[in-house]
């Protein structure tokens, strides 16, 4: 007779993961919102801090790629519907998917710290958005923004990475 105990434990674990994912998705959304409220005082489009990336980096380390990916998609879809409009969501989606894939691959190599992972994420987020902008506008002159966005992604990625590394150690280690 199979014991019901392990099954119950699996369900409890799944529920915990689900709850944690929901909390992280809500946090990422709030970060996106805060960022939209307080624009950085720079006259160049596309430069932002990427606060939501903080949540995604922590999600990759805590919950793995699958959960982090879904959290990111939920965040982009909801912020798109609520604040930026669906057209803006296309850009966020391209940047979000590219950056999370790159971040996960770097994380899997085990060679990089959170700062390095987040730094690459910031750069590739901007690159993804720019590529989609080029495709939609069918104008590759837009790539002249690339250098600026690359540096901004680099700096914001490093800052977010440092915060993520500090937070990751401070957060209670839930068994999920």
């Amino acid at each position: 007779m199979p014991s019901p105990k392990p099954k119950a434990r699996t369900y409890a674990l799944r529920t915990k993961r689900l709850a944690l994912s929901a909390i992280l998705a809500a946090m990422a959304m709030i970060f996106s919102y805060i960022e939209a409220l307080i624009p950085l005082p720079v006259p160049i489009p596309g430069i932002k801090l990427g606060l939501a990336n903080l949540v995604i980096v922590i999600a990759i380390y805590r919950l793995g790629f699958k959960y982090a990916f879904i959290i990111n998609c939920v965040r982009i879809l909801i912020t798109g519907l609520l604040f930026t409009g669906l057209f803006g969501a296309i850009y966020s989606f391209a940047g979000g998917v590219l950056s999370i894939v790159v971040m996960y691959l770097l994380y899997r190599t085990g060679l990089f710290s959170m700062v390095g992972v987040s730094m690459a994420g910031g750069v590739f987020h901007n690159l993804g958005q720019l590529l989609v902008a080029c495709l939609i506008m069918s104008n590759f002159k837009l790539m002249s923004y690339f250098a600026v966005l690359l540096f901004s992604g680099l700096i914001s990625g490093i800052l977010i990475g440092i915060v993520a590394a500090v937070l990751y150690d401070k957060l209670p280690h839930l068994n999920v």
């Binding site: 006259p43 850009y91 390095g116 690459a120 837009l142 002249s144």
Partner: protein, 121 residues
């Protein structure tokens, strides 16, 4: 906290960025014409030397492009993010102001055969 690979990655990205900046900054020159593109179609071409305000109205969207003293800026847009309005005024070739929500692009071109392809055939 920071590993060796992080520093290598940082340097790689930094050098790529510098290389791209050098390439993209290298080929800008004094421009002559302002080309306004809406939804991938040319809306109008205006001389950079004449001061004027171009009102672009299409599909319920409005953008005002101002040419003044040889520089072009987006002075008004009804888009949500106002990125185009906050873009610095442009005057050199290969510079552009882009309003993604309204799909408006303002570019500077030159009268001379600035395109390399024309010269090399």
């Amino acid at each position: 906290m920071i590993k060796k690979a992080d520093i290598v990655l940082f340097l790689v990205i930094l050098i790529t960025g510098l290389a791209v900046s050098v390439v993209s900054l290298g080929d800008s020159a004094e421009g002559d014409n302002v080309v306004v593109t809406v939804d991938n179609e040319v809306y109008g071409i205006y001389p950079l030397s004449e001061d004027r305000v171009i009102e672009v109205r299409q599909q319920g969207h409005t953008n005002n492009i101002t040419i003044k003293d040889g520089v072009v800026s987006m002075t008004y847009s009804d888009c949500a993010n106002q990125v185009c309005v906050n873009t610095r005024p442009i005057a050199k070739t290969n510079d552009s102001i882009v309003c993604l929500p309204n799909r408006v692009i303002v570019e500077i071109t030159s009268d001379e055969g600035g395109e390399v392809d024309v010269i090399t055939g």
